[in-house]
């Protein structure tokens, strides 16, 4: 699968190690990205789960907002999981007053939409583009995608809310495929989203 593609994983904070291991299990070259010049040569980038406020502040300090928008303009695909999905969104509902996002994807995301940690849950999902058995969805203090623009394709819903969506070279999931050992969504990102 995936040939000789190189995919970066933003490694400022959060579950980046699990994404790197998931990519490597598919035979994809994965690199931890802590500074913008490490984006060089990456056909795709994963923004992992973590705390969106903490990752966002570190992105500001090191010039990642400009670097990621430029790289995406030049063809780099980006997948955001959970906090990463928040950072991709054009609009964040219940955001902190100064919370900044990349504003790349035409979605509105609600932070901590399900409540606190005791409301975190697992549920099986049917995900468009992912064949076979239901996908194990792990939702941890998760957001949901409350609004999607006309060019956004909804890939999965749970409880009537959008939890996975794609817009061209952008993919957003509000759950955590990297915690499951199930490689299918990583495969979909590398083969279909990066390859598009």
């Amino acid at each position: 699968m995936a040939g000789s593609v190189r995919v970066g994983v933003l490694a400022l904070q959060g579950a980046f190690r699990e994404h790197i291991l998931s990519l490597e299990a598919l035979g994809v070259e994965a690199v931890a990205v802590r500074l913008p010049d490490q984006l060089e040569g990456c056909a795709g980038l994963i923004i992992p789960g973590g705390e969106s406020t903490a990752i966002g502040k570190l992105m500001t300090s090191y010039g990642f907002y400009e670097a990621l928008c430029t790289a995406h303009d030049q063809g780099m695909a980006i997948w955001g999981t959970c906090a990463g999905a928040i950072l991709l969104a054009r609009r964040v509902l219940d955001a902190l007053p100064d919370q900044r996002t990349l504003e790349l994807m035409d979605i509105a995301v609600r932070r901590n939409a399900y409540g606190r940690q005791v409301d975190s849950f697992e549920a099986e999902l049917t995900v468009g583009g992912v064949a076979g058995a239901p996908f194990p969805g792990v939702f941890i203090r998760a957001p949901w995608i409350e609004e999607t623009g006309p060019s956004v394709e909804v890939l999965a819903t749970h409880g009537g809310r959008t939890v996975a969506a794609r817009e061209g070279r952008l993919l957003a999931t509000t759950f955590h495929p990297e915690l499951t050992g199930d490689p299918r969504i990583h495969g979909f990102f590398v083969d279909t989203v990066v390859g598009s």
Partner: protein, 298 residues
């Protein structure tokens, strides 16, 4: 809305939240204002307390769970996860913290233990727990009791990193030793470690702890945080080190950056400049044996 509603309180969502905190800094706070400063500085979570360890040490007496009013005010003030401490073995304090909506409970030796033999049965809760350890056996006993995250203990409230270093090295050395054992030797190793065999076997097979491990206790500078990361911790707790220093907001930001860029000495050097006064440290040998918090927990 009639599809499967999902299952809450699973071990995967408990350990999963700790996975999301990795590479981050969790800061002790005693007021909502401090919690906002921590969030603005890039903390991944805050630990709500009535007093930071340095003040608990100074005050003496029995240290207990914080007043629910303080915990609720901090929960309401920030959007990042909020942790809170209960006494070792005090499962009713834990029940109260779960009902207040905290995201993680720290069954902590910083408070005065309520039970000198038993820790809380953490499987009985849907909120996850983090517990302290000084060695691999202690870590695996806590995980066996249901802890979803551990932290290698330093000596809290001292600003002295030496005990944190001792204990992460102890855990790493014991993991390395298990890796070299034959399968039949693991039974005796489990007996020696006083830890559940299945967890000992898992560590021997995987070469790491089965849950996220942060460092806690004695971290006062960006260099301390990066040291603990280079020694193999997944993230750091900073207690008294931030709000007992001269410029808490600046020091907090610096420790956050040093934790992310822990292998980049140029960045650590830059963020270490002009941070104002660090907290006054205490030498461990100056603390009477009976007052060392790290020795609580069994």
């Amino acid at each position: 809305m009639s599809e499967n509603p999902g299952t809450t309180g699973t071990q995967r969502v408990k350990t999963g939240l700790a996975e999301m905190l990795k590479g981050g800094v969790i800061m002790d706070v005693v007021t909502a204002e401090q919690a906002k400063i921590a969030e603005d500085a890039g903390a991944v979570a805050v630990m709500s307390l009535e007093r930071v360890p340095a003040d608990i040490r100074a005050a003496g007496g029995v240290a207990r769970m914080a007043d629910p009013t303080i915990v609720e005010a901090i929960v309401a003030s920030v959007s990042i996860p909020v942790m809170a401490k209960c006494r070792i073995g005090h499962f009713v304090e834990a029940q109260i913290l779960q009902s207040l909506g905290v995201d993680y409970i720290d069954e902590s030796e910083v408070l005065t233990p309520a039970d000198e033999e038993h820790h809380v049965d953490k499987w009985a809760f849907s909120v996850p727990f983090v517990c302290g350890c000084r060695n691999l056996g202690e870590a695996l006993r806590r995980i066996g009791e249901g802890a979803a995250m551990v932290r290698t203990k330093g000596e809290p409230g001292t600003g002295n990193v030496v005990e944190a270093v001792r204990h992460i090295r102890a855990v790493s050395d014991e993991i390395a030793r298990l890796r070299g054992l034959r399968s039949e030797e693991l039974f005796a190793a489990a007996k020696d470690l006083q830890a559940p065999y299945d967890l000992v076997r898992w560590v021997a097979d995987n070469g790491r702890l089965p849950v996220v491990n942060f460092s806690a206790g004695g971290i006062a500078t960006p260099a301390d945080a990066a040291l603990m990361m280079q020694l193999g911790c997944d993230g750091v707790f900073v207690g008294s080190g931030i709000f007992k220093s001269g410029d808490p907001a600046k020091r907090a930001r610096a420790i956050v950056e040093a934790t992310t860029h822990y292998e980049d000495a140029d960045i650590i050097a830059r963020v270490s400049r002009d941070l104002g006064e660090a907290m006054v440290g205490i030498n461990i040998s100056d603390i009477p044996a009976g007052e060392r918090m790290q020795e609580r927990g069994w």
